[in-house]
Subunit: 217 residues, 2 copies
Amino acid sequence: MSGTVRVLVVDDDALVRAGLSLMLDGADGIVVVGEADDGDAVPAALDAHPADVVLMDIRMPRVNGITATRRVRARPSAPEVIVLTTFDSDENVLHALRAGASGFLLKDSLPARIAEAVRAVAAGEPILSPGITRRLMERAATEAGAHERARAALAELSAREHEVAVAIGQGRTNAEIAAHLHLSIATVKAHITRVLTKLGVGNRTQVALLVHDAGLC
Amino acid sequence: MSGTVRVLVVDDDALVRAGLSLMLDGADGIVVVGEADDGDAVPAALDAHPADVVLMDIRMPRVNGITATRRVRARPSAPEVIVLTTFDSDENVLHALRAGASGFLLKDSLPARIAEAVRAVAAGEPILSPGITRRLMERAATEAGAHERARAALAELSAREHEVAVAIGQGRTNAEIAAHLHLSIATVKAHITRVLTKLGVGNRTQVALLVHDAGLC
DNA sequence: CTCGAACCGCACCCCTCGTCGGGGGCGATG
DNA sequence: CATCGCCCCCGACGAGGGGTGCGGTTCGAG
């Protein structure tokens, strides 16, 4: 795996392609084996010159980088993809990750960092630009915070109440809950009343949201 | 900012401290200015030797690395913190991020990588070990997937229905929704009925969950 | 043993929710 | 213009959700 890493550069701007090829080709263990000027040209380019890593622009005239990434990842060879773009809007990032990209960098990254990213991705490591990493971290942290608060609130409940709360969180009706727990509907309602008071909320949908936040999907 | 980076090493194991200090002190632009053998010793160590970056173990006898991180980040100087541990359980990672850590690495990371992480964190860039980055990426991707599906479903709704659905997602009752939109309760109910059929769900809590997934908090 | 506390279970009553049917407005199609 | 479709609005009614009170159980403290 530690041989030279073969790279395909995909960008509609010839100048950008030339710049990337120039800065990468010949760098430690990297060789640029081809270029493509649009997403729809990528499969042919990969057929002609198999690559380990594809450097992919997003904004391209015919087929954009997201769908191109999806197609690349669907191939039997399945090279890794690094999406390389000017703006790091959350939309772009999430779509790219969902399409199967292993890396997401801004075009103004330092050349050394891009080369390093190519090698890392070829080795199976994911790479994100610092700003994106930061946003992902903050997102996970806030999510974990809500998670924690919700779990703390649910900890107040007794075992039965907890079961009922979880069932509510799955959108079940009282009758379904009663059948599932072998209870009378009246009992389920009583449990729900206690759950509402203990959690300090007014109706079952808020219970469902709390359970959802707690990660009990 | 590009001077030498001052590092404080915190670990209850003297051997680990020695190893880290040895591998870091003298590396490019890094100087280890102190060590601490437990979380409760960190403030004093920072008072004696101000540091830019704290390398923090999690498992320590008296005060663990998470709370120590929280205290470090609460200081006026507020050095950056890299949590350095043996296991990367999701619990640990999320708590560390929530406590304000800017980096999370495994102890078996290559020395060069740790040094690099110290410099990056000192420069304000976050650093995560590859496995954690991967999990965060997958998490974001799946979340984005649910997001997308939910938004697609909600796109079927008319403007009014959409408003009502969002209100349901906030746990509001029909009367509240009616007051908020200056409608009769009967009208709100009618909208909800159409929302239910269009979304293919049976009750309002499932609507709330869908709206929640769509990110319309 | 008894008492209190907490949990679980249930029946009754009232209010909200969801369905059904109907009416009016507005643009597109014939 | 007719009428078809879509959206918005509403009233009435059955069904389901939520509140209250009460009995039964367990368990530890007094």
